[in-house]
């Protein structure tokens, strides 16, 4: 299955960049949680398990995986439904399956599963432009897990599914005109959504974002603290484990949602540029894999996986600088979180897979 010659086509640069980001994240978790804590250990297990997942996703030809994508999709959605009724509750949300040793968050795996099933759906050899039926099916495939996840509630993760669908549909040839129409519809729907679809706390978060000072003690607190954390880092930062904002817990969940702020504080603008550079390298390198893909299925798959990753990276980093409303969106590869780490590394296994097999039949 894993032929020896394929070994030479693995994108080692991408792999190294991904693992380097994992290492940086681990170091910042060590710093933010104040030393060698169980959190650090859990993250290491996450990286190790993720590496295994990456190897597995790399080994199996992506085309065979795509052939079974509907099973995978159904299985993951099934897990989501299971979680909805029997999942473990933490912090008021039902997102986890308790496996005793650790908890699994199925919603993290939906992204890859959705990318697979959409890639397979659009990648089937066909001619001509996309039909409305195609778009409707894609929308439905996305909407089902999205709505279930939103019920947990985990709006953050739910929203990351939208870029997956858009990226694949866009690459599959959706007319740009249609994009414009969707954008206008979205804008018009915003007030309605504001009124009916959002919970009070969500409305508050957005209002706070627009004027953080109005509620400096409440929701605006995190945003102000995030800016202070980043801004006080300066050019070279305060030094590893020397950041006052993260160390003294002025910034909440520093090892999770705000890991990038901690990095910015302790390693300054220099560290930020290195991390941003690595992420940019990873994204561009993956786009390269999409371009080089042997077939449309490969290109769609790469882009589907990459879309949620890129969206999350950009959103989280913007939020880390206090420039976006605070949302429970983690930074892939760096933030603490086992399920997210495993799912993300598995996703990169798929991307590497596509590139590695660009010459095979």
């Amino acid at each position: 299955m894993f032929e020896r010659r394929l070994y030479h086509h693995v994108d080692w640069g991408l792999l190294m960049a991904v693992l380097t980001l994992c290492g940086i994240g681990l170091a910042q978790i060590y710093s933010a949680t104040g030393g060698w804590t169980s959190t650090v250990e859990t993250q290491i297990y996450g990286i190790l398990l993720g590496s295994v997942a990456l190897l597995v996703c790399l080994s199996i030809d992506y085309r065979s995986l795509a052939d079974k994508s509907h099973f995978i999709y159904i299985a993951v959605v099934g897990l989501l439904v299971y979680v909805l009724f029997f999942g473990a509750v933490r912090g008021g949300a039902r997102r986890w399956i308790d496996l005793g040793v650790f908890n699994v968050q199925p919603s993290e795996f939906v992204k890859a599963a959705l990318a697979l099933v959409l890639a397979k759906f659009f990648g089937e050899s066909r001619r001509g432009a996309l039909s409305r039926v195609d778009l409707a099916i894609a929308a439905a495939l996305t909407a089902v897990p999205l709505l279930i996840i939103a019920q947990q509630p985990d709006l953050g993760t739910a929203v990351t599914l939208v870029p997956v669908a858009f990226a694949v549909v866009y690459l599959a040839g959706m007319p740009v005109r249609l994009l414009g129409v969707l954008a206008i519809v979205g804008l018009l729907a915003a007030p309605v959504l504001w009124q009916f679809a959002l919970e009070d706390y969500q409305r508050e978060r957005i209002a706070t974002f627009l004027d953080p000072e109005q509620d400096a003690r409440g929701a605006g607190y995190q945003q102000i603290q995030a800016r202070i954390t980043v801004g006080s880092g300066g050019l070279w930062g305060k030094g590893f484990t020397e950041g006052t904002q993260g160390q003294l817990r002025f910034l909440p969940v520093a090892h999770n949602d705000f890991i990038f702020s901690v990095l910015a504080e302790e390693h300054g603008f220099a560290g930020v540029i290195v991390a941003l550079g690595l992420y940019l390298f990873v994204i561009l390198r993956s786009l390269e894999a999409a371009r080089l893909a042997k077939d449309r299925l490969g290109a769609y798959l790469v882009l589907g996986v990459l879309a949620s990753f890129t969206f999350q990276v950009i959103y989280n980093i913007t939020m880390s600088a206090g420039l976006a409303p605070v949302k429970g969106l983690t930074l892939p590869l760096m933030s603490y979180g086992g399920s997210s780490m495993i799912a993300t590394l598995a996703g990169f296994g798929l991307i590497l897979n596509v590139r590695m097999r660009r010459f095979t039949n």
Partner: protein, 643 residues
């Protein structure tokens, strides 16, 4: 071919995505550059404000010692419990929880916090001063649970005064600086001297507050100390006060059973050995912030415990003033000590008849016996010969005009009238008849106990008007340095015959047939003079009867000892004690203590109070003008003391 078309479309769209990603990342990089480089200074400061907190470390005030090195006033540790609002999310909850834990009224705590609402949020608002240990324990336990992160417990030095309010009026008290007092080294919340020595030597005693910059985490817990400027304790100050004499004088009053004042000086230097004003207050009540109820009761008390009678009470000096008239007459050369006057129980001056206190009269008396017997007629005669201005002149030389200049705040001026004074004050000329009352210390003469102490000290030392003072030495940080004593206010060398007559007369008051026999100490040659300060004229007494006011006379006793080379001099003022001689035992106790201490013998103790003796005849309690015999008739017949 559709497939190539597909490929081209994919390539183009991937390119679009590529460019978008690069642009987005560039925007992100610029944002971070903006935050981290351009606005760095601002955020740096905000981050520091976040986690650094500067705590004031209150400097202990300088310790006060007595002249023998005994500690009089020191500092103890007390705990203040404060709210720091800086990171408070729910102030009301904090107030409720704190009040509940400390057993306080929620409204009261809220009012305290409201009073400081406009101050910067990082400045602690002190809610409980001098908290009890159980309050501290309750708060600390909750702090560990992160329940009260915005409540801090600070250890602060607090003034500790002697028990029984000893020498309260000497020390004064401390309190928070008022708006008007802020400036120089005094800031909002500074504890400064508000009265007494604490106030007048505040600059020496205050010390320099320190500061500690600590790192706190987001729930306000201190992580570590970043920098510390230790507080500098105030200067140590040695007073001229002698603890044992102070105690002896206060015991004397307590034993005698009346209030009043005493000032004991070293007549050679003007050092104040003891200064008493009763009733007094407990300065410890002020040390950690006085509560409103105590403050109100001190202020409304009819006995005025906050008034320092020694320097602020002004009373008529009565017969003690005869010493001024005697000095004036002798020094002006108007008479010699052998000048005799025949006292027939009264004498007419300017058409009015002025009484002596002895109905039958003293007969022919010279200066010495006139002082011994306190003969009014003799001094009426001298006063008449002198005129008011020369009396005023010598009163001034003896320290009875204006302030003595003691190092205590708010001293009142003593007053002895003169023609110039009357013209200035009332626009009227002086009538010679008025001089007659003045010459026995009545009329418009009104003096403070401290000024009478200066008078007797000046007579004791032969004419040097010393400035009473209470600071002896200061530790400027490098060991004790003697304080420069204040310059003498005036110096006249009395003629030997003046001194001889005065000292003999005063010795006879105590040791012969005078009124001061209760101060007699064998072998000590105590000299003294009693006096009575009328609270109200006899006519006024009739009118005021039943008003509930205490109209009984005040009694004076001025003294020095020993007669030759006096070492100790002073005044005992008994408030409403009616008789000057009742102050003499207090003086005796003080003098005995002085010599016992000097000679290393055990200090004398006052025996429990004997049953009240029958009232004795008091020659000082005498009506002056005609028309008073009604009141006088009630008095027992005057007779020389038998002791």
């Amino acid at each position: 071919m559709a497939l190539t078309e597909d490929r081209r479309r994919i390539a183009v769209r991937l390119m679009v995505l590529q460019v978008s990603v690069v642009v987005t990342f560039a925007v992100l990089a610029i944002s971070f550059w903006f935050l981290q480089i351009i606005q760095h200074a601002r955020y740096q400061e905000l981050a520091e404000n976040n986690h650094q907190r500067t705590l004031a470390l209150r400097a202990p005030r300088g310790v006060l010692f007595d002249r023998n090195g005994k500690v009089l006033v020191e500092n103890r540790h007390s705990f203040n419990i404060s709210i720091v609002r800086e990171h408070t999310k729910d102030l009301d909850r904090t107030i409720r929880l704190l009040a509940d834990l400390a057993g306080l009224d929620v409204e009261e705590v809220r009012q305290i916090v409201d009073r400081h609402r406009n101050e910067p949020t990082y400045r602690p608002i002190v809610v409980i001063e001098d908290a009890s240990l159980s309050q501290v324990a309750a708060i600390m336990a909750r702090r560990l649970d992160f329940e009260l992160p915005d409540v801090v417990v600070e250890q602060v030095p607090t003034r500790q005064y002697p028990t029984d309010a000893l020498a309260a009026h000497v020390f004064g008290y401390v309190g928070e600086a008022s708006e008007a007092q802020i400036g120089n080294r005094i800031r909002t919340g500074s504890i400064i001297g508000q009265s007494g020595i604490e106030r007048i030597y505040n600059d020496l005693l205050m010390g320099q507050d320190g500061a500690r910059r600590v790192v706190v985490n987001s729930v306000g817990r201190e992580i570590r100390t970043e920098a510390e400027v230790p507080p500098k304790e105030g200067r140590r100050v040695q007073l001229t006060i002698d603890y044992d004499l102070q105690k002896a004088a206060e015991e004397g009053f307590r034993h005698a059973g009346f209030n009043g004042s005493a000032v004991i000086l070293d007549p050679r230097s003007g050092e104040v050995l003891s200064l008493v004003s009763l009733p007094s207050y407990d300065p410890n009540d002020f040390a950690a912030g006085i509560d409103a109820a105590t403050w109100a009761s001190l202020n409304t008390d009819r006995l005025k415990p906050l008034q320092n009678r020694a320097i602020q009470g002004r009373y008529s000096p009565g017969s003690t003033f005869k010493l001024v008239v005697a000095t004036a007459a002798l020094e002006e050369g108007i008479v010699t000590p052998d000048f005799r006057v025949n006292c027939g129980g009264g004498a007419p001056f300017f058409g009015r008849y002025f009484l002596c206190h002895l109905k039958g009269g003293h007969g022919l008396v010279d200066m010495r016996h006139a002082i011994e017997k306190s003969c009014n007629v003799y001094f009426y005669t001298l006063g008449n010969m002198l005129g008011v201005d020369r009396i005023h002149k010598w009163a001034e030389k003896l320290g009875l005009v204006g302030k003595t200049g003691i190092d205590l705040p708010n001293e009142q001026e003593s007053l002895v009238p003169s023609t110039e004074w009357k013209m200035r004050r009332f626009g009227e000329r002086w009538y010679a008849g008025e001089t007659i009352s003045v010459s026995i210390g009545q009329g418009q003469v009104s003096v403070t106990p401290i000024s009478l102490a200066v008078m007797i000290a000046t007579i004791a030392n032969g004419g040097t008007r010393v400035t009473p003072h209470m600071i002896r030495a200061v530790d400027e940080g490098g060991g004790w340095k003697m304080a420069t004593p204040p310059a003498v206010a005036d110096q006249v060398a009395f003629r030997p015959e003046t001194l001889g007559a005065l000292h003999d007369g005063l010795w006879m008051v105590v040791n012969a047939a005078g009124t001061g026999g209760r101060a007699r100490i064998p072998g000590r040659n105590v000299a003294g003079k009693t006096g009575t300060a009328q609270v109200i004229s006899n006519q006024g007494r009739q009118a005021a009867r039943g008003s509930g006011l205490d109209l009984r006379d005040h009694g004076w006793f001025v003294f020095f000892a020993p007669k030759e080379n006096p070492e100790i001099a002073g005044v005992i003022f008994g408030e409403h004690n009616e008789h000057g001689y009742l102050g003499a035992p207090i003086a005796k106790h003080v003098i005995e203590t002085y010599f016992a201490k000097k000679e290393g013998r055990p200090r004398p103790e006052l025996t429990p109070k004997p049953a009240p003796a029958l009232p004795e005849a008091d020659p000082d309690t005498a009506p002056v003008e005609l028309g008073a015999p009604v009141a006088r008739a009630a008095q027992p017949a005057a007779a020389p003391g038998t002791n």
